[in-house]
Symmetry: C2
Subunit: 374 residues, 2 copies
């Protein structure tokens, strides 16, 4: 019998770029030992933000020091705005200034913003250094930490500049989630539920029954995170560079990114996971409208996401949205677009999503016109 | 019998990232047809500099237009200073502003600076777009265009930020070299000779006999460029990410980079190929001093490089050099350094170079002290 509270390890299988995601309690305090055991003699730059630093930086640095791992910390401002070019320059300068070599590591201690930015820096300093993630948000643990996507935002859109750079190791400490604001935990939960909606109907049903325990902590939380990581790892292993099946991970994201862009990435109004929650409901509703799926499935998705406290409709976004033709330009700028045709992830029901090419833009336009008012 | 003036194609064998280098006369005028034949419907951003634009941009854009390939040109300032973060941002913004998609291409029309910068942008916009190189300097044709290294400079050193991003196609038009300043042609020639010194003693002897024809143009030029590209392609194919044998390509570069840094990358005093020329002579002389090779080989290398007009001694650099301990910090910051030990490419004779780990820093220091005065 396995102790349900002991750490779980998910292997991301990418040939010579394979790595482990360790998920469990108390991992920050064990980070130094985990890293030193895998790479004796390694040195680190630890990139974090002010909020996370206050809660966890001392503990991580002490753990590294105890294991004999030198660490040069850099504390950035929290928030999506940090994912920009001049902060990237700052991280690169810090890593070079610490005279780290190719075999040394950039450690990201934080949520998705820190992971994406530090991972991008790790991918470009000396044309690629080692990278270790210590994700401190639920979203980062289940999403950003699997798959090697890194990047920053551009005036033209979110995550439009970046590289694929796989971490060496991910340490997902589930205790740190207890101190997350509930809104942020919920936003991460949207991505957890997504894996059920993509191709694991049994997992979605399990979440409907067990979500309260996932929120309160304990074994169900570890189980949910491990299942989500495993699901993403399988998709990524099959399609590392997002040329095919990996697009399924974008379920809810084309609409979601457009809503984030339309609200100027203002996290007071909408955070990424909230955009994904609304986007997933829209993807199910649009699929029903195209007679691909039953409207009951869309209603079931909306019910569960609303039950955990997530927004599920465009009208849930405070402050209103720009006209639909502006929304459409954000939909079309999404980088999943191919040669002018609109590509969406649609579904035939819970856990039956698929990649739809050549979705007619005018259908999407009319759908958004109708939905924004509802 | 093959016509010695017809184009030569060198295949760089990197699995799914394999690509062709086409080397010959009149290729800019045929670029549109070459690109459209390989990727129908592709769109391009053409990145170039003011000098190259004046000579070749109209011809390239006309060739693309004739083949039905849309092209959005961006003209940057010439010179090494353009390899910096804010110019990278500018190129990324230009590519995104042209609404190019992942399957579209960034085309680099220029020398190594443009190739490194545009290739870096191609590697990070939308996490990797297609990349086509039209190298217009000898250095870019034989060196930067093979191997997928891209990057910019940092205050901490040259090429410290970048990615490995392979082009789809390289079109090396040998006619454009006729308009190069002789000093720039010579600098590129240092890298051509390097391939002889690494592991092709017969090619080095051929260059000693035929270098005048390489300089004046015609079949010997195409032959020399194709041989250099083939040599580099073989090394890169064996070690794409520079974890091992690829380090041989750095023959002359650890000293060369240090000299470039010591002259603040001031191209009036020293350009990259000149640094490499002096660096290769130093590598042969240091190898002789370590009793690894005969001093006659070092003399032969110095004689040939001097004969074509390249600098071969530190004292050839105008304006003097900083103290040797400063030079040493530039040597040690070089990114080929591993865990504090100094790694050099040394040699047992012409065409017998090898990777030497654990070269004692104090030997290097004393050698530089002696040599700078000679």
């Amino acid at each position: 019998m396995t102790d349900p509270t002991s750490p779980r390890t998910v292997r991301v299988d990418l040939g010579e770029r394979s790595y482990d995601i360790v998920i469990g309690s108390g991992l920050i305090a064990r980070a130094g030992a985990e890293i030193a055991a895998r790479r004796p003699g390694i040195r680190c730059a630890v990139i974090t933000d002010r909020n996370v630093a206050a809660a966890h930086l001392d503990s991580l640095v002490a753990s590294l020091a105890d294991a004999g791992v030198e660490a040069a910390p850099l504390v950035l401002e929290p928030g999506e705005k940090t994912k920009r070019f001049d902060e990237l320059v700052r991280v690169c300068d810090h890593v070079l200034g610490a005279r780290l070599e190719r075999g040394d590591a950039v450690v990201a201690l934080g949520g998705g913003v820190i992971g994406d930015l530090a991972g991008f820096a790790a991918g470009i300093v000396r044309r690629g250094m080692r990278f270790v993630q210590v994700p401190t948000s639920l979203l980062a643990q289940v999403d950003s930490s699997v798959g090697g996507k890194t990047g920053i935002n551009s005036g033209h859109g979110k995550n439009l500049i970046g590289v694929f750079h796989q971490p060496e190791l991910v340490l997902a400490d589930t205790d740190v989630l207890d101190t997350l604001p509930i809104r942020e935990f919920r936003a991460g939960y949207a991505e957890v539920a997504k894996y059920g909606l993509i191709d694991r109907p049994g997992f979605f049903a399990w979440l409907e029954a067990n979500w309260r325990e996932v929120f309160s902590g304990g074994p169900a939380r570890i189980e949910a995170i491990a299942t989500a990581c495993q699901a993403k790892a399988e998709v990524v292993a099959a399609d590392e560079r997002e040329s095919g099946a990996r697009a399924l991970l974008n379920l809810g994201h084309t609409f979601g990114h457009a809503l984030e862009a339309a609200t100027n990435y203002d996290s007071a109004r909408l955070v990424h996971g909230e955009g994904v929650a609304i986007g997933m409901v829209l993807a199910h509703e649009f699929s029903a409208r195209m007679n691909l799926a039953s409207p009951d499935d869309a209603a079931r998705v909306a019910h569960h996401l609303r039950e955990v406290g997530l927004p599920t409709r465009m009208s849930d976004i405070e402050g209103g949205l720009p006209p639909t033709d502006i929304l459409m330009t954000h939909v079309a700028q999404d980088k999943k677009v191919r040669r002018g045709a609109l590509t969406f992830i649609l579904t035939r029901g819970i856990g039956q999503s698929f990649i739809a090419d050549d979705v007619p833009g005018d259908e999407v336009f009319r759908f958004l016109e109708d939905k924004r008012a509802s």
